[in-house]
């Protein structure tokens, strides 16, 4: 099989039905009717806002823009386009004055540390607004970045529910196109915008197009690494991605609790979150 022929396309109408139903169900059964979303102006958060608006109505969605002083001004303006288009509530809460004291304390902190500070500051702001707005934080992480561990734990990955986490970036783009999201937002290079000039693909060292095909075969179709190489992917690429998935697994699970008693949370105290609702 030719790796380039792997087809990840989805029925967007069905995805839309299931995901809006999911948002509505998981928010209302928890006793809420509203959503709070960190809107960076990037594709994932724009799509999450669009789905949440369709699920809950314009008056029930709060988009929060949280720029840092070095953030790309395009992010703010793209976010504004979406806020205006959807007609949802919005707030702009710069995080510069929140993270700057910590950054000043460690002036030689790496880009990773600085990026994590920003991502976690945004989480604090978002959860504060969650309480104020009486809404749940809707996550925006997609399947590609969750599998690659390309996120800050307790930062941008923190949320109450995530409608996008089973869609690869390629599929996010397809769904976004079907939901009439402006093409300039769909087509711009994905970026965490944690430092000037950062792009996901530049930092990861491969394209979403390629890695989505590989992940789809490995995860969804249960191809072994060797099967993937035989399907046409380079050994280095496959090994790199396998390593990334394994090393980042801690980000995808709850912290392990040391078992002592006969009944331990996480092992034999088993209930869905939707217990009783």
């Amino acid at each position: 099989m030719n790796a380039l022929s792997v087809d990840l396309s989805i029925n967007t109408e069905l995805a839309r039905t299931i995901l809006t139903g999911f948002i509505r169900s998981e928010i209302t059964r928890a006793g809420f009717s509203r959503a709070v979303i960190g809107l960076s102006g990037g594709l994932d958060s724009v799509l999450a806002c669009t789905l949440a608006t369709e699920a809950l109505g314009t008056e029930n969605v709060l988009a929060v823009r949280m720029p840092y002083k070095t953030s790309n001004p395009d992010s703010l303006s793209h976010a504004q386009i979406v806020i205006d288009k959807l007609g949802i509530k919005s707030l702009t809460i710069p995080i510069t004055e929140i993270v700057q004291p910590l950054m000043d304390r460690y002036p030689s902190a790496s880009q990773i540390r600085q990026g994590n500070m920003m991502a976690r500051a945004r989480m604090i702001v978002l959860y504060d607004q969650s309480e104020e707005f009486h809404g749940l934080v809707v996550g925006t992480s997609n399947k590609t970045e969750i599998l690659l561990g390309y996120s800050t734990q307790y930062g941008d990955s923190a949320c109450a529910l995530n409608p996008l986490g089973d869609l690869y970036k390629t599929q996010i783009r397809q769904l976004a196109s079907a939901m009439d999201i402006p093409s300039e937002i769909i087509q711009k290079p994905p970026s965490a915008d944690l430092w000037v000039g950062q792009t996901d693909e530049g930092e990861l060292g491969f394209s979403y197009h390629d890695v989505d095909q590989l992940l789809y075969l490995m995860v969804d179709q249960r191809y072994s690494p060797q099967d993937c190489i035989e399907a046409g992917f380079s050994k280095d690429f496959v090994d790199n991605v396998v390593r990334r998935i394994q090393r980042s697994h801690y980000k995808r699970v709850m912290p392990p609790i040391a078992k002592l008693s006969n009944r331990t949370i996480g092992y034999d105290f088993l209930y869905l979150r939707d217990w009783g609702t």
């Binding site: 069905l14 299931i18 139903g21 999911f22 939707d274 217990w275």
Partner: protein, 285 residues
């Protein structure tokens, strides 16, 4: 003879029997007003699906002394009901179960035979395996009940057919999975396909009631169907939303189809038994 058949494609409250019973009563009242003879609820309709450690706290006994069944049996005086629940037996084993209630009596209780423990499923951890495949007589004819994974296996429907079932009542709480370009999920396509195949191969009515709603990230896709003995689709409820479906089925279709296509008459059960014995004796394959 006609049978007015109703399917309650409902969402449930996870672990709240009282709330789910209330919804059953609303659907039963409506079905009665619409003149339905039989109303079928999905798998675990009284409890919700991913019960895990909730299981022992929502278990019932399908008898008149049980507070929930007392109500349902009373309701069944003028409309037959199939309800999904957790059955706790006298030895305190818990079974995923569906009960057929009619004229104030429990006609039959089916215990789920196959408890999937692969992929997203973990039923075998919390439930006991049923060990009986049997058809039963109703005032409309002989029927058989299977629950979800039971009819992903070909043998239980086949056994019910040989045991005289002309109506296959299949109940599910089927989590949707497998999104591709198709207008329905792979799991939905699969279930509908096998149900239609059973209707064709067994020249029987195949009635499938599936639930809707969400439990955490799982969606239940609905899409309940009825196929007739020709394998023709009689009705299909919409997917991904609660729905009440009612349809009149013509029981004489069994006569007409089997006059044309005598698959049941020609089924060689003696041959099956002989070959099955040989195969089971030769276990090394």
């Amino acid at each position: 003879m006609k049978l007015s058949l109703a399917l309650a494609q409902i969402d449930t409250v996870l672990g709240n029997v009282e709330a789910n019973l209330e919804k059953h009563l609303v659907y039963i009242k409506n079905a009665r007003q619409q003149g339905a003879d039989l109303l079928v609820f999905p798998e675990l309709s009284l409890t919700g699906y991913v019960l895990q450690d909730i299981t022992p706290t929502v278990a019932l006994k399908p008898q008149k002394t049980d507070a929930v069944f007392k109500v349902l049996l009373e309701e069944s005086r003028d409309i037959d009901l199939v309800v999904g629940f957790v059955d706790e037996d006298d030895r305190h084993r818990f079974f995923i179960s569906s009960a057929y209630l009619s004229q104030g009596e429990v006609v039959y209780v089916h215990h789920k035979l196959y408890l999937p423990t692969y992929g997203l499923f973990d039923e075998g951890r919390f439930f006991a395996w049923g060990d009986k495949v049997s058809a039963f007589d109703t005032r409309f004819g002989r029927m058989g009940i299977l629950i979800c994974e039971d009819f992903w296996h070909a043998s239980p429907p086949y056994l019910l057919w040989l045991d005289g079932a002309d109506f296959f009542i299949f109940t599910s709480a089927s989590p949707g999975r497998g999104l591709n370009q198709a207008p329905q999920l792979e799991s939905a396509r699969w279930v509908e396909m096998v149900n239609q195949a059973y209707a064709c191969m067994f020249t029987s009515f195949v009635i499938h009631a599936n639930r809707t709603g969400y439990e955490d990230g799982l969606n239940f896709w609905g899409g309940s169907t009825v196929f007739d003995p020709n394998g023709e689709l009689v009705t299909r409820a919409p997917q991904h939303r609660e729905y009440y479906a009612q349809v009149e089925i013509d029981l004489n279709q069994l006569h007409r189809t089997r006059a044309r296509l005598p698959l049941l008459r020609d089924e060689r059960t003696g041959l099956i038994q002989k070959e099955l014995n040989r195969i089971l004796e030769n276990q090394n394959r």
